[in-house]
Structure formats: C-alpha cells, structure tokens
Amino acid sequence: MDILTLHRIHFAFTITYHYLFPQLTMGLALLIVVLKTLALKTGKEHYAISARFWAKIFAINFLLGVVTGIPMEFQFGTNWSEFSRRTGGVIGMPIAMEGIFSFFLESAFLGLFLFGEKRLPRWAHWLSAFLVFVGSWISGFFIIIANAWMQHPVAYQLLPNGVYEVSSFWGLMLNPWAWLEYAHNMSGAVITGAFVMSAVGALYLLQRRDEEYGRTFLKLGVIVGLISCATQIFPTGDMHGKYLAEHQPAAIAGMEGLFHSEKGAAMVVLGQPDFEHEKIDNPLAVNKLLSFLIYGTTSAEVQGLDQFPRDQWPTTLPLLFYAYHIMAGLGTYFVGIMGLAGLLLWRGKLYKSRWILWPILLSFPLPYIANTAGWMCAEIGRQPWLVYGLIRTSQGYSTHIGVGTSLFTLLGFLGMYSVLSILWIVLVYNFIQSGPKAPHEAVAGQSFTAA
C-alpha cells in the first residue's frame, strides 16, 4: 500500500469513528434542553428524571467524542503537515476558535450540568444544559467553517511560498457553502438524536416497562424527528445539491453515476456503476428527475464525468456513488417512517401500534449510517482535491512519515477503537436496560463543605 492511501485511510477511519459521537451529542443536547424546559415549565419530576437519564447517555457519548476528537486536531499536523503548513493561515483560525469558544464552554458547563443539579438553582441548571447545547452547536459550526473552506475556498490570498492566508475574516465566516453545509449537517445530527430517543421509547413500550417514559421519549423523538427529517431533504439537502452542482460538478456527476452529459438527465435510484465501460448496470432510473432536481426544469443539461479530465475525477468513484445513494435512500426512508409515526401520534394510536414500534426501534443505527455516508459524499466528492482547485490530496501529507510508522498507528487506533466500541455498547445498553427510574449509582451533585 502506498503512503498516501494509508494516510487517507488513517484519517477516514479516525474521523468516521469520531463522528459517531458528536452527531448524537449535538442532537441529544437539543432534546435535553427541551426536556429541561418542560421540567421547568410544568414542574413535573417526570421530565427532570427523563433529562437526567438522557444526560447519562449524553455524558458517555460526549466523553468518547472528546477522546476521539483530540486525535483529529493532532492529525492535521502529524499526518497532513504539508496541508497544515500551507493552509494553517486559513483553517487554523476556525480550529483555534472551536477550542476557545466551544470546548471551554462545553466542558465547563457539562461539569456543572452533570455534577451540579443539587447545588444549583433550577434555572441555573437549565442554563447549564442550554450552554452545553450552545457549545456543541458552536463546535459544529467552526469545524464546518474549516471543512467548507476546503470544499469551496473563499477570502484567501496566496503568498509566494505557497502558503495561503485569510484575506477577510468575515469572508471566511460568511462562506455560503459553510452555512448550507452547517444547516444540512446539524439537521442530520438532530435526526440521529431523535431516532435514538424514539428507539428507546419504542423499546420501553414493546417491553411494557417504564411506559410513561416510553411515551414521552417516543413523542418527543417523533415530533423532532419528523421536523428534522423534512428539513434534511428540503430546504437544506436540496440547496446543498444545487450549490454542489454549481461549484463541484464532477462530484455530482460521480455521486449520480452520470458518465455522459445529458439534457433531461435521469436519476438512477438503484444500480451498480461500471467505471471500466462507463455505464450503470441494472439501472432503476426516474427519467428527467436529475435535471429537474438540480435546475428546476426537466430539459436542463447536467454535466457528466466526460466533461472533466480523468485526473480531476473523484478518486474511489464507486464508494462515492454508493455513499450518495445510501444517504439519499435512507433520507427518504426517514421521512416515510417518521411521517407514518407522526400521523399515528396525531391520531393517538402510536403507542398501541406495535407494528410501527418495531421498525422505529430497529431503525436507530440508520441515521449513523446516513450521516457517515453524507460525510463520505462531501469528502470523497472533493477528491482529488484537498482544498478544492488549489491543493491536491497528494500534495498535503507528511513526507517524513514512513509506511510502517503510519500503519503502526493505524493499527493502534483500530485496536483502541474496537475496545471503545465494546465498552460503549455495554455501557449504553446498561443505562437503557436499568431505565430512567433506576437509582443513580452516582449521585448527581455532591455536598461540599464551604472552604
């Protein structure tokens, strides 16, 4: 294996694994704020206990997000030092701002939220939950500012030594790509949170235990899930796609498996791309849909891969094609299942309809897959560029790291993360099985004597 591929796998593996956690914590943070607000407004202990239960699940996921996140920042320097040297003057800023504005906020108030319920007034405890939510959403924003600049570089100048630097702070922060990507990404995180919460609710109802909590989780999960699944497709997904077609046409062509430019291009719903012969095997396609989705008219011409020189095609094209189709397919399914659940909720039949509780329970892994596939679209679609149109991926890695060294650390992360996965599953499963009313093995808040 060549060193570039190894570095890419190294980053892909660590980032994919890392993002399993923030997508849940960013979504759950919002749902916990809703629960805390309900607790404050109604004064019902039921909501306070629910919030405390989800805070535990939040905490373990947050911790794993933190410990798997530190390697991400470090890897810019360790594995992609040429990229860091040349673009640190741009993306160093959002990375630093994430630490300063988000991580401090999150970690300090998470400490208060988890340990301080007994020693804080109720409004202050609500506020700490709210600030954890704000912190985690700021974190997502800054990291997307960094990624959006790689997708769509703006507000920079190039110095003679090949180094890029920011020419306008507001230009970087108001990168339109970033705002689209952020909306689409955060909506995806809320979907994960909502699906996980609904699944736990469905589980309790199916098990006929803690039904009062099961109903609360299911109701909140379905309402929030329905809203976020809808916004994920329209407007955020739709706008993102159109913007992509305008600025990264090769990426769209790769995702759709469109080899040849066409007027009134069809959208392949299912199929297997054959890149040798530049065709799709067993295509199941909807005529003219692609032109309509991108340009709003059925006759518009969509650029195919044949418009671009081969060295500018996204690498690992088949993966890009499947990632996109998995993302879009699951997104459609999410709207369907949440729509159905929402309808039943509205009719007051949801809690009794066991046939729908089963798929809600079993669907909890799917948003993780969809979010991962979505990020794969963004990152593989950008290839062969590290910074679109400016720096190729092959120009960005650390030249002094040997294949053996890189493989050694990749194996280390593989082993480490395998252990973390087992731990994570056992802990979260135990929380869910012991239920919201379980006595806290760890008391929230402790009494101190004043110094």
């Binding site: 805070a55 905490a59 373990i60 911790l63 794993l64 933190v66 798997t68 530190i70 920042e73 470090f74 810019f76 320097g77 030092s81 860091s84 040297r85 640190g88 160093g92 800023m93 990375i95 630093a96 994430e98 630490g99 300063i100 504005f101 991580f103 401090f104 906020l105 970690s107 300090a108 108030f109 400490g111 208060l112 988890l114 340990f115 301080g116 804080l120 100048q157 110095l159 630097e165 920011v166 020419s167 306008s168 702070f169 650390s398 030249t399 002094h400 790291i401 060294t405 650390t409 280390g412 480490m416 731990l423 802990l427 093995e441 008391v443 402790q446 009494s447 101190f448 004043a450 110094a451």
Partner: protein
C-alpha cells in the same frame, strides 16, 4: 505581533500544565495515598467535575499554535509523530478509565480502571516532560523545515539526537516528580482526615526530590543547549523565571511545615508556571531549535501566520479567553472546598 502570540501560546500551555497537571498528579500518586475504596472515590471526586475542562487547555493551546504558527505546527507535529500518537492513546485510555469506573459496581473493574488511570497519568507526565526537553534541546530540522526523530539513538544530545537521551529523560523524571507533588498538594487541599494527611506526607517526601532534580536541570540545560543562556544575558528580566521557580519551591516547603495546603498548592502553581516561563524565555524568538547543520531554527518570524488573521485573532482570542476564565471561575467556585465522604459515587 509575533512576540505577543509567542507568549499567548506559552501562557496557554502553562495553564494546561498547572490545571491538568494536578489531575495527572492525582493519578500518579493515586495508589500511594488512596488505599480504601472510599479514599479512591474521594480522590476521583476531587477531580471529577474539572479534569475534562482542564484537558481542553491542551486542545485550545494546540489550536492556537496551529493558527498563529502553522509552520511550527506542521513541523513539530509530524516530527514528533510517534510520541504524539502515544499521547493521544494515553489520553483516550485515561478518560475512558475515569468514566468507566464510575459506571460499575464490580471491584475488579474498579481495580482495572484504577491501574489504567494511574499508569496513563504517569506516562503522560513522562511524555510531556520529555517533549518539552526535546523542544529546549532542539531537533534535527532538515532543509525542508521538517524532521523525523527516532525514539532513541545514542542517548546523548548532539547533531543526531533521539527523542530520548539523558537530558530528555531528566526532563521526563522532573515532570513526573513535579506533577506528583502538584497532585498531592491539590488532593490535600480537597480532602480531609487520613487521606489529606497521607497526601501531605507524600508531598513532604516528594519535595526534596523535586528540589534536587530542578536544580540539576539548570546545568543540564546549559550542557544540552549551550546557547540557552544568551537570552538571559541579553534580557536580565528573564532571571525572574528561575527566581520564581526557587521562590515557589521554598513556599511549598514552608507551607508544608505549617500544613497550609492552599498556600502550598499556590506555591506549586507558581513553580510550574515559572518553569515553563523560564523555558520559553530561554527559547524566544526561536520556537523549535535546529541541531546539526542541515536546516535552520524555526523562529517566530518564519512561522508566523498572516497579519490580518493575527489582528483579528487578538480580538476573538481575548474575548474567548475572558469567557473561558469566567466559566472556569464559576466551575471552580461552585466546587470549592473539600469533597465529603457520602453514600453514592463520584460520577454523575
């Protein structure tokens, strides 16, 4: 501008060492002072609400370094590839061991987590000490401004160094001892009764070792990096740092005699911050010295980011740090005082 950002990053790293230093230190001395399950819960509860926030200073300092000195970030992080990756693994293991322990009632799991927590804390202290000593000693930077170091060569500083040599090992030992002392003092401050007494005894026993190795580190630095004294001669104000180091150490000794935990802990904070300030003063305006005759030092001027970002950066950085200090003020104020023994755990 460069000078300002140099000291900003140095101050953030000092904040990291002073803050995360005490929870790493609690990990190092954990098995020596926390004998019973109650003791161990108390020790963990003393750091429970804050250790995660303390660790953020490392991330924030790293991010700021990346932002202000991209060339340094690229060169140092790729050059120290293996030790940094191991630091990452240790941070993962440490965080997970603290979390996992609080969710289990099984004594075997507790013992396993305790071992992992203590071992990873001690190793992190060793790694950080060795890393700082590497930066002071210098690394074999090449013409392209990059370098790659083997873990060890012939154990001597010189044109062909490894990450470990007699000088960096001294740095590692000093860090281990200093943070163990720092952690003992913090634990004494946050606990009462037997545990407090054991922590104070541990600190009293550690103090002479810290004192001796600190004094040894001064001539050792002069041997390993002969021109480190030039800055001190040029700017006599830099001598404040070693003076504060000695003052901090003396204050700790004096406070220990009087059993004044708070004063002793403050002395330890001054000592650690002054050690870092002293190292930074000896380096400035170099960020990473080159050894051998291949490449040149990575200096503030060469590694500095563009003027526009740095100007903007001062604005948001000041705002952000003020906010961070406010959060930490609230957090530490709320969890002030000694942790008490009570039924239940130390988790959440």
């Amino acid at each position: 501008m460069g000078t300002l950002w140099f000291w900003i990053v140095a101050a953030m790293l000092a904040a990291y060492v002073v803050l995360d230093g005490f929870d790493l230190g609690v990990g190092i001395i954990y098995f020596f002072v926390a004998k019973s399950e109650t003791d161990r819960q108390l020790a963990l509860r003393a750091i429970g609400p804050v250790w995660d926030g303390n660790e953020v200073w490392l991330l924030a300092a790293g991010g700021t370094l990346f932002f202000a000195f991209p060339l340094l970030y690229a060169s140092a992080f790729s050059g120290f590839y293996l030790p940094l990756m191991m630091v990452l693994w240790l941070l993962i293991l440490r965080g997970v061991s603290i979390e996992m322990r609080s969710h289990s009632h099984e004594p075997l799991v507790h013992t396993f987590c305790d071992g992992l927590f203590s071992l990873s804390s001690a190793l992190l202290a060793i790694f950080f000490g060795a890393a700082l000593a590497n930066v002071v000693r210098g690394v074999p930077i090449g013409k392209d401004d990059y370098f790659f170091l083997p873990l060890w060569t012939n154990w001597t500083p010189g044109p062909n160094p490894g990450i470990l040599d007699w000088y960096t090992v001294t740095g590692a030992v000093l860090a281990l001892l200093a943070l163990a002392l720092h952690g003992s003092l913090y634990l004494a401050l946050k606990t009462s009764g037997d545990l407090e007494q054991r922590a104070l005894n541990r600190a009293t026993r550690l103090w002479p070792a810290v004192f001796i190795v600190t004094l040894l580190s001064l001539p050792a630095t002069a041997i390993a990096r002969p021109n480190s004294l030039e800055n001190y001669r040029a700017h006599p104000i830099a001598f404040l740092a070693p003076l504060l180091v000695i003052a901090g150490l003396v204050a700790i000794r004096y406070a220990l005699r009087k059993k004044a935990s708070l004063a002793a802990f403050r002395g330890s904070c001054v000592y650690l911050a002054a050690m870092l300030a002293g190292a930074a003063a000896g380096l400035y305006p170099v960020l990473l010295p080159a050894v051998g005759n291949q490449g040149q030092d990575i200096t503030v001027a060469r590694a500095l980011a563009g003027p526009h970002v740095l100007r903007v950066g001062i604005v948001w950085w000041s705002l952000g740090i003020l906010l961070a200090l406010l959060y930490f003020g609230i957090l530490y104020w709320l969890f002030r005082g000694k942790v008490e023994q009570q039924a239940g755990g130390y988790g959440h």
